[in-house]
Symmetry: C2
Subunit: 322 residues, 2 copies
Amino acid sequence: MVMPISEATIRRIKQAAEELEYRPNAVARALVQRRTYTIGLFSREMTDPHFAQMLEYVEAKARAMGYHLVVSGELEGIIGHGRVDGIIVLASPEDPLSRRIGHDTKVVYVWSSNQQLPNCVSWNDEEGSYQAGKYLVELGHRRIAALFGDYEESVRYDKAEGFRRAMKEGGVYWREYCCEAVTDMIDAGYQLGKRLLADREGITAIFARNDFLAVGAVKALQQMGVAIPHDISLVGYADTILARSTSPELTSVRTPIGQAGALAVERLVEALEKGVAHFPGIMLPTSLTIRQSCSPPMHAQLIQDDKCVVKEADLNTQREGG
Amino acid sequence: MVMPISEATIRRIKQAAEELEYRPNAVARALVQRRTYTIGLFSREMTDPHFAQMLEYVEAKARAMGYHLVVSGELEGIIGHGRVDGIIVLASPEDPLSRRIGHDTKVVYVWSSNQQLPNCVSWNDEEGSYQAGKYLVELGHRRIAALFGDYEESVRYDKAEGFRRAMKEGGVYWREYCCEAVTDMIDAGYQLGKRLLADREGITAIFARNDFLAVGAVKALQQMGVAIPHDISLVGYADTILARSTSPELTSVRTPIGQAGALAVERLVEALEKGVAHFPGIMLPTSLTIRQSCSPPMHAQLIQDDKCVVKEADLNTQREGG
DNA sequence: TTGTATGCGTTATCAT
DNA sequence: ATGATAACGCATACAA
């Protein structure tokens, strides 16, 4: 039974604590309370601007809720040792990596998904890519390229599917550009951009799977004297600082990663403090941050009909800029 | 006295531990050992690509040394509660903020400084800026602008001084561009770039205090049809991903922030495990990452100076590469 | 070699 | 309303 404590006593205690500069030892408290008030954040890529954006929100929200944040690039280090009360995992619950998390560990996943996954705060990259593709189609583009980079990354498939859906729905011609073993995304974008121009397919718009590829493509286009968006429009993905670094600045699909991170903290803490075992999952909308890298296709004469017949002369004109 | 333990016993114990899936409780260990094997990382700006680059190294090094990493944007949260064994502070030891750290807290600072400060892993932004300035002077530039952004940030002064030293030493004309209350560095760079062009002072090279300002300046230059580096050369600072995002890619002063972070972890752990109270401080060299945003001033007719007469023919030859 | 007691700093319980 | 005491899970020192 909890007894009320007199005002005077409270003051006295606080006074003494202040004078002695007493700070309760968090470790001892954690031991007896079985609560560390610490949450773990796992991520494979800390250098990614996308991650940095999220980290800021997660740290701020965790702090606001009275929790500390330990960051790690290795799962084993933070789980199973009573070091953290729960973890936020920047990976899909369906990722093989997630199998290494015991069912006793409270965890919230933050990742892209095309469906609501339990204990997962997500957004839909399929939808985001669809939005990008649809936007280009609605601007009037009839020959569109997608820069996907390497084949490996699983996230690519969602994006590829969304993009394809928009292309099919619009009934336009499209072409996908990939390459193997990408070590440098910007350079990959540059190489693919050059290949795209060399192919002379009369492409008037490009969708890039991420801002790195988009930025690389911008290099290729500008180097060949192709004007953005006049000659070719371009959409990036993730809306990182990179999208603001080119001129013109890039229209880019914005993923709600910051908000997702903050929500993940909220849900995790809720699970921790209210004993909620699972939550149904949250799907956050993606959006398109429209900047200056897209316009309707300006070479009206290039476009004869839906099938898009390109005149040789115009192509040459287009290449003169270099 | 330590007694040797038989091989058989060790195996037996390990076997049992494995079978029972025993994982020692880190909190209880921390309590009795008075060691949490956790270090704190304090930083004000987690979104900065500069920070992201450092985080990766700090986390990796800490993990490699058997330590965990808690990240916080607030100092008070991580110190004085026995939560961490020591902290790495991304600020100068001379920063007012550093006064809030008790002398009982093991701390290593990571920050720019023009002198070796105790318990501080640093690099010299004065030197870095000098290198950038000197590089431009040696390329033959005689009218150089510096983009400093806002007046407030203290780090600016080191950079300003280094730049000025190079200008004075080279005996060239220079001009500094600042603005007040910067909210968006890229935009500030853009605004300052436009102002610079409007001033029509015959500037042939620009030094920017950071990559954000540089990227903004690139926008302004390209928008006004000024060719980089043909008409104006440009040097950024920090060598972040932004420096690789423009075309041409930016020559940028590289600060050894990753290495500094790793070293900070090493020194901190050393202090923790060997009881080293202080270390004299480490000064790491800055360098210049040379890309394609700088060249000798190409407007030969503009430059009467005998130190740098460029022939028109050479200019044309040199431009072919682009 | 192996078992056992004590303490780490706090919270929670019980008795006063 | 307050003081004493037992856990929390582990490491260590000491006894067996």
